[in-house]
């Protein structure tokens, strides 16, 4: 009996990996057959980025049970550090196959450090307070990045928080980070294949974490903190662990993001709180704590507004309606009840019972 229950979670995990790999293979086949519009082709990498964001946020929201509204801030840190690395090393490390993985690792590490720094004071808070502080933190990261000026010339790096003129560089100098205008000229290293590999790595990390001893400890804290503490679980340690891993994965997504476009700036649109809430929407609609669900919700909600482009101004309207409908279908008690009574499994089960009779 016991071995059966374990194989069930393993099987569920493999279904999730299988969906991602199957989607990848289908897309690759379609690309090879030249059946993919350039719009969809351009959306493949952003899709991977948002899936990673949704899965990593699900770790904080669904597994750790803490509402974080600053997830885009960690993505921002990952994006800028990895982009900076690539820009500096572009001449020395010409092969993008070596440079890009290092850039991703650096982005993840920087975001993890940020997650740790933020996590130590912030995770003492609970519920709404945590949400407010993480929201503020996301905004702070964005605004700090917006005043950083960094340049490089023969004598090394120059840093300023005023303007590029204040960097005092000689003629050989190039400006790497230009305040609110961000970084331009990041090499375009992100590809769909790398994106999918990163999605799979993210899934392996998160799913294995959930089903490990650590994951069970984290979920115990979520369900009842006092009970968990009373049986000797180190609450701070496990909370920080989950939060830091979640931030690191957001850093990976940031690295993919910054290497997908040649200009990178921290704006309200890409790293602001609206974006953080967008990721939360993916998680909530896909099901809090349900990794596979958040992947599907992300794909649907990212593709929808772009594929509806042909409908021009109605697209945002339809998008909003779909959001509301999905929300109702997923969370309204009446509909959940209806779904339970009329689910496929239920119908098949009924038919099977009838036959047996």
């Amino acid at each position: 009996m016991k071995s059966r229950s374990i194989s069930k979670t393993t099987r569920s995990n493999f279904i999730t990996y299988g969906i991602v790999i199957a989607a990848y293979l289908i897309m690759q086949a379609l690309i090879a057959a030249d059946q993919v519009s350039s719009l969809l082709n351009g959306l493949l990498v952003p899709l991977c980025i948002y899936v990673i964001m949704a899965v990593s946020l699900n770790l904080t929201v669904g597994i750790l049970g803490e509402l974080s509204l600053g997830h885009a801030g960690f993505m921002c840190v990952g994006a800028f550090t990895s982009s900076l690395f690539s820009l500096c090393m572009e001449e020395t490390l010409t092969s993008s196959m070596i440079r890009f993985p290092i850039a991703i690792l650096i982005g993840a590490a920087a975001a993890a450090v940020m997650g740790l720094i933020v996590g130590i004071p912030v995770l003492r808070l609970k519920g709404d307070y945590l949400a407010i502080v993480t929201l503020a933190f996301g905004e702070i990261i964005k605004n700090v990045v917006n005043v950083i000026y960094l340049g490089r010339d023969a004598s090394g790096f120059h840093f300023s928080m005023e303007s590029t003129l204040a960097l005092n560089m000689d003629e050989t100098g190039t400006v790497l980070i230009k305040g609110a205008q961000g970084i331009t000229g990041t090499p375009k290293d992100s590809t769909f294949t790398i994106g999918v590999v990163m999605v799979l790595i993210t899934l392996i990390i998160v799913l294995n974490l959930i089903h490990s001893r650590t994951g069970r400890a984290v979920m115990a804290i979520r369900d009842n903190r006092i009970a968990a503490e009373s049986i000797g679980i180190n609450v701070t340690k496990y909370k920080l662990l989950a939060f830091t891993i979640s931030a690191a994965l957001a850093g990976v997504a940031g690295a993919l993001y910054s290497h997908n476009l040649s200009s990178l700036a921290a704006t309200q649109k890409n790293f602001g709180y609206n974006q953080s809430i967008m990721f939360l929407v993916y998680v909530v609609l896909g099901g809090i704590g349900n990794i596979r669900g958040s992947i599907i919700a992300t794909v649907v909600l990212t593709l929808l507004p772009e594929l509806l482009r042909s409908m021009d101004s109605y697209r945002m309207l339809i998008y909003a309606i779909v959001l509301i409908v999905m929300m109702l279908v997923n969370w309204s008690p009446a509909i959940i009840d209806f779904r339970k009574r009329h689910s496929l499994k239920n119908l098949l089960g009924k038919a099977a019972r009838k036959e047996a009779r």
């Binding site: 969809l40 305040g179 609110a180 101004s313 945002m316 929300m327």
Partner: protein, 413 residues
């Protein structure tokens, strides 16, 4: 858990509401683009015009020009101006027989001033069959799209992408001045005309346009013997209260305040300067164009403001007047320099395409190669300057014009 769900619900509602409202605002403005986009073949495209003769032009095939810019969100006014300005030029050209007998098909996509969405819009236009790109409107998305268009070797002419990097690839050209050019030109103008020796600057550090102009201005000011007594920055998040910046400018003893910013903030600055009794000379760049049409703004405050702009809506020449009257008739409101840039961009594409002998069956890459050479050979008399020429690096060469606001109207100086 329950609280979290309810919070999540609230978040979704908030998001969907913003999505709704932005969708609505875009609705009416995209209507113009829709009419062109919906038309399947060339003859139908002409439905927007009214001459029967123009259907003959369809014999030469069609050329597809795509446009990208923000037509929803905070910078929507710029994108809408470009969309409409270009539409007027396209209709005029089609009515007059098209480019080399080819009718123009024109489609405009929204990028919400976001780099990712701009690239999506670009890809979407590629699927539509775009052969020439007129865009994008704002600088940052333009840099992102420029990398893509360079990759595809597609000819790109941005009406208003003024950051240096927008046209760093050789397939990209622009109609407006680059930011550094405007900064240097402003400093030279102030220096040569002896307007002031002590200048204070208020600029938007989160904006490429504004800080680009400021940096070059500060460099050139030193050569012109101008002392920059105060350089006060604000960002997009804090652009409602300028009293601190104004007070510092006042205390520094500046004779002139340089405002390399857009008109909506400038209107606030002028109002606040007036209420704190700070009476000085204000000088701006083309971003100040539109100052007189700001709602609830006492235009008397703008008296004596000088600005360097390539386009003034009440210029006397025939071209400007016909453009302005067409714009007012079709879309309502006075066109700003973005609309004028877009209008000139379409005519520049026309001139270059005729020079290069573009035909509708050429590949995107061939068109680009031919257009690149042709762009450096043409001379255009447009709304934003007479005798405009382009160099191979994509920069236009035209004279900046200084105008002063007198009796509630722009007057050339």
């Amino acid at each position: 858990m329950k609280r979290m769900i309810s919070l999540g619900m609230a978040a979704v509602l908030a998001v969907s509401m913003t999505a709704c409202s932005s969708g609505n605002s875009a609705e009416e403005t995209t209507a113009a683009a829709e009419t062109t986009a919906a038309a399947g073949d060339a003859a139908e495209t002409e439905a927007a015009g009214d001459d029967a003769a123009e259907t003959e032009a369809a014999a030469g095939g069609t050329i597809k020009i795509g446009g990208i810019g923000p037509i929803s969100g905070g910078t929507a006014i710029y994108g809408q101006a470009v969309m409409n300005g270009a539409q007027i030029a396209v209709d005029e050209i089609n009515a007059a027989g098209g480019i080399n007998g080819m009718t123009i098909e024109y489609q405009f996509e929204d990028d919400e001033n976001d780099t990712t969405i701009a690239v999506n819009a670009y890809n979407s236009l590629k699927d539509w069959g775009m052969q020439i790109l007129m865009g994008t409107v704002t600088s940052l998305p333009c840099v992102a799209v420029a990398a893509e268009s360079a990759n595809d070797n597609m000819f790109q002419l941005t009406p208003s992408g003024s950051a240096v990097e927008c046209i760093q690839n050789d397939n990209a050209f622009r109609v407006c001045f680059s930011d550094p050019n405007q900064g240097a030109a402003s400093a030279q103008y102030i220096g040569e005309h002896g307007l002031a020796t002590k200048v204070a600057v208020i600029y938007d550090s989160s904006d490429v346009y504004s800080s680009g102009i400021y940096e070059k201005f500060a460099q050139e000011a030193a050569n012109q013997g101008i002392e920059v007594t105060a350089a006060e920055a604000f960002t997009a998040d804090s652009k409602t209260d300028f009293t601190v910046q104004l007070q510092k400018c006042k205390d520094s003893g500046a004779e002139l305040v340089f405002l390399p910013i857009y008109y909506s903030e400038a209107a606030l600055i002028l109002t606040q300067a007036d209420s704190m009794g700070f009476d000085t000379q204000f000088f701006g760049c083309d971003g100040l164009d539109g100052l007189l049409s700001v709602e609830n703004f006492d235009t008397a405050l703008a008296e004596g403001v000088m600005l360097l702009t390539p386009f003034a809506a009440d210029a006397e020449d025939e071209l400007t007047q016909s453009f302005v009257s067409k714009y007012e008739e079709t879309y309502g409101g006075t066109p700003n320099q973005f609309a004028a840039d877009a209008y000139d961009a379409i005519y520049a594409i026309k001139a270059a395409a005729e020079q290069a002998g573009i035909t509708s069956d050429m590949s995107v890459s061939d068109i680009c190669e031919a257009m690149k050479t042709a762009m450096t050979e043409i001379t255009i008399d447009g709304l934003t300057g007479t005798g405009m020429t382009w160099t191979a690096d994509g920069e236009p060469s035209k004279e900046p014009k200084a105008v002063m606001i007198e009796n509630g109207a722009y007057t050339a100086m």
